[in-house]
């Protein structure tokens, strides 16, 4: 590197923030790609404004993207950004308080005028105050950008639209990221003046960093030690969609996805809809009830059936889901949890539908429940959900959440050959067929689909006679069938792998989590242990049935803490199941857990704070 000195740092978190129109998500994604190429471990989280676009320059219209990258292993987008790049006053106001004290705040000084300050509800210019609290870097971004494009035939509007690439170039210089991937992408995406403009300002931004007085040094974040392999970045929603497609390939049956759009689940429908050439059929239904019903119909017809939705939609699916329990048909229902109750905060984070998943139907109606723990894990969770559903002839619920859905991480691309391959087998033998005769091992009934000669039969939601499946009001039979369905789900525990505890498998404190809080909990506990605390962590992937070794493990710790983004739903389950005095740490702000707050709570429990 010529000229300026460099400084080595272990980790950095940067947040790009601007107006919905400023292309923050794109800027963040490109920086993420470059960072991946640079060989760092990383984690990202976008922050979308409320669903509909607000007037430009207002607080409601602010969009953000945070990336955390490091030379060490990391699992979250970081509690607080070290650096904020704010494209306008509204973006500054909405985000600056999150920046660590003394952190770097880069602003576009051209964007500070009375109108924009008003739009951001600033009474006066905030910069004087910010200069005291942060390392404030003021760049005449708009003017520098225009200057770089002077000789091109671009409307000023088009010219200004490229200023995010100027800033991106600057950040590439500041953190020594390669520009090539982005230049390659631009070449593929634009042509003519627009291509020229974007590429030019990217380089101009980079050059500006090299020359300006504003930045005495640039920073180097060394490569992280990462398991070898081919990697890509992936969000939970994409991984989930691909998991659905993959299941169809691995199980050799086409997929039927029934869905009704709802934030944050809609993107899964959008993504899966792109794969018709995999034989996938997507059905945008008139509502969630129809989506669920159509999916169950598809399962009856022999498809790999799945529904994707979120909280309020998941509630609407419960009656039909109860029929799937009674009809014992394999269908996977994905609830990408969002902040509630009711409509709540549709774009915010919560994991509060666990008890709904378990108890949301009339009468005792057991359904297996799985929860992925990282964006990439969503892929494998879907493969597993389908195979459980088919093997045990039962609906299966997958609980993802808004955090997993939107955040991304580097994902080691699995070898397709290494993925489980379980072709679906339907019943075809008429001899000795009965719709509710069960596999002695799993208690699963046969999957006999229309079009199969000699297996004609009728199913439905009325109480069924054992074996024949005919309508029956016989009291003893009803008791038996309810117990059989419960036992069928309970037996899934036999197939579950032993639980893996992080840390010692006994001691002072065990922190138990589930779902999207994995990264934060694991990081906090690892830190605490690194600092000598006797604390371990355990993350549950199976919420129903609970793993058979769980009770024993809980018993081996003096105290058990369950941090949840709800009012203590898993802790209620564990208390009822094991009579262990589980302590609950509840957060329902719509935000994910911060490592620091978890760490603080753990320390205080261990008398270290």
């Amino acid at each position: 590197m010529p000229g300026k000195p460099t400084e080595q740092v272990e980790r950095v978190a940067i947040r790009f923030a601007g107006d919905s129109g400023d292309g923050m998500q794109l800027t963040g994604t490109k920086f993420t790609e470059a960072t991946a190429m640079a060989g760092n471990d990383l984690s990202t989280l976008p922050d979308f404004p409320a669903e509909i676009r607000a007037p430009a320059g207002t607080l409601a219209g602010v969009s953000g993207f945070q990336i955390h990258f490091s030379s060490q292993e990391i699992r979250t987008p970081a509690d607080q950004p070290d650096v904020l790049v704010a494209f306008n006053p509204a973006a500054l106001r909405a985000n600056v308080d999150d920046v660590i004290p003394g952190g770097m705040v880069i602003v576009n000084s051209d964007a500070f005028n009375t109108k924009s300050l008003q739009r951001a509800d600033y009474d006066g210019d905030p910069r004087p105050d910010l200069r005291r609290r942060f390392q404030l870097v003021e760049i005449p971004l708009t003017r520098l950008n225009r200057a770089a494009l002077k000789d091109l035939q671009l409307s000023q509007r088009d010219a200004d639209r490229s200023k995010n690439f100027f800033a991106l170039g600057l950040m590439y210089w500041l953190y020594q990221r390669p520009m090539e991937p982005t230049l390659r992408w631009l070449a593929g995406r634009f042509k003519g003046d627009l291509l020229e403009a974007n590429s030019r300002v990217l380089k101009a931004g980079h050059a500006f960093g090299e020359t300006t007085e504003l930045f005495p040094v640039s920073f180097v974040v060394p490569r992280a030690k990462i398991a070898p392999g081919v990697y890509r970045n992936i969000t939970g929603n994409t991984a989930l969609a691909w998991g659905i497609v993959a299941a169809s390939v691995q199980m050799q049956q086409p997929v039927f996805l029934g869905a009704y759009p709802i934030t944050p689940a809609s993107d899964v429908l959008h993504e899966v809809a792109r794969y018709r050439h995999f034989g996938v059929k997507t059905f945008q239904a008139e509502d969630e009830i129809a989506a669920m019903s159509a999916a169950i119909g598809a399962a009856f017809a022999g498809m790999l059936a799945v529904c994707t939705t979120s909280g309020p939609g998941f509630v609407l699916k419960q009656e039909a889901l109860g029929l799937a329990v009674m009809a014992e048909l394999p269908v996977v229902v994905v609830d990408i949890q969002r902040a509630g109750p009711s409509t709540g905060m549709p774009t915010k984070i919560e994991q509060a539908d666990l008890l709904l998943a378990l108890y949301g139907r009339n009468s005792d109606s057991p359904v297996p429940v799985l929860a992925p723990s990282t964006p990439g894990d969503c892929f494998f969770t879907m493969l597993e959900a389908f195979s459980l559903a088919v093997k045990h002839m039962t609906p299966v619920i997958v609980l993802s959440d808004t955090y997993l859905a939107n955040s991304s991480e580097p994902w080691r691309i699995p070898e397709v050959e290494a993925l489980p391959r379980q072709p679906v087998e339907f019943r075809t033998e008429a001899e000795g067929f009965a719709p509710y005769a069960r596999d002695p091992e799993t208690l699963a009934r046969p999957w006999a689909i229309p079009g199969t000669p000699g297996l004609e039969h009728r199913i439905g939601g009325l109480s069924k006679q054992d074996v024949t499946g005919n309508v029956s009001y016989d009291p003893r039979n009803n008791q038996r069938m309810i117990e059989l369905r419960t036992e069928k789900v309970a037996r899934i525990a036999r197939d579950l792998p032993p639980l893996e505890i992080e840390g010692t498998d006994g001691g002072e404190l065990l922190v138990v989590g589930w779902g999207g809080t994995y990264g934060a909990i694991r990081s906090a506990v690892d830190e605490a242990r690194a600092d000598g605390s006797a604390v371990s962590s355990l993350h549950l992937r199976y919420l129903n049935p609970l793993p058979s070794d769980l009770g024993g493990i809980l018993g081996r710790f003096e105290r058990v803490l369950v941090p949840e983004l709800n009012q203590g739903q898993l802790s209620r389950l564990l208390r009822a199941e094991y009579l262990v005095n589980v302590e609950s740490l509840s957060k329902v702000t719509g935000q994910p857990f911060q490592i620091a707050e978890l760490r603080a709570h753990i320390d205080s429990m261990l008398g270290k704070a």
């Binding site: 081919v230 050439h277 034989g279 008139e286 019903s293 169950i296 017809a301 029929l323 439905g460």
Partner: protein, 343 residues
Amino acid sequence: MTMAEQGALTRNDFVSDQDVRWCPGCGDYSVLANVQRVMPELGVPRENFVFVSGIGCSSRFPYYMNTYGFHTIHGRAPAFATGIKASRPELSVWVVTGDGDGLSIGGNHLLHTIRRNVDLQILLFNNRVYGLTKGQYSPTSRLGMKTKSTPDGAIDHPIDPIAFALGAGATFVARTIDVDAPHLQETLRRAFHHPGTAFVEILQNCPVYNDDEWIEVEDRKSRVEAALVLHDGEPLAFGGKGKRQGIRIQDGVPSVVSLANGEDPTAEGVAVHHERYETPAYAFALASLQRPAYPIPIGVFRAVERPTYEALLEQQVESAVGKHGRGDLDALLRSGDTWTVEP
């Protein structure tokens, strides 16, 4: 049974081993018998028939058919059937529903299934009452009908199933009568052969909770005056000798004209029935004919062709395969930006 044997199919092949549990005299018995009679003629292997229903007396139907069947939940049968048909277009999928199941709780699914033109046969048993729950009024019950839930009489204006279906953009709409075996059977055949959603309203008697609701048209004598039997290409004429009348439709407004014996109705401006008008307006004009001012039209109101939902869906799959080739999972996982971490 296999394709080969199905020539041998008889009515009994479609009778299941469950005893039928409707009240004595229920119109559902006659519908069941006629469906079982028609099935063998349709040239479909038995294992390819699926009967799907919601909840209601009429919705018990699938249990009595020795085919594949799904007695689902209240009002959602069209959605279940859509999932089945969209998944397996080769199946012959029949939906059995009631005026409550299909038009009260299930109205929205019926609406969307019809507009999508999924190739289903939808049989709506209209007895103008909730039978299974013991006699509350339904969305097709007459104004003022006194029931357990409306001791002072119903105050909601009834829905006409045919008008509703036409408003939803139906491609095939017909009305028939539980006890008129030949007409019922012919209507079932027509419905089966129609590509797309075939919506059939069956006027059905519930002797227990709403007896003789349709007696005017069920009774062969009164039917002559009370029913306007539709025949493609023939004038809209009804009424017995000496009381011949016809329906004229001017500026979209129907009226009754009486015809002296023998004389040619069209001369009097009586409309000629056409099932295949592109516009649903004509069929809707017929649907708007209500007793007592007008006779009740019986028969096929409308039968036009439009690509079915499942056919278009299959096409999208095929053309996608044509464009991108059969999906390759490994290629998908490695698509876009990736990078390699060397050992």
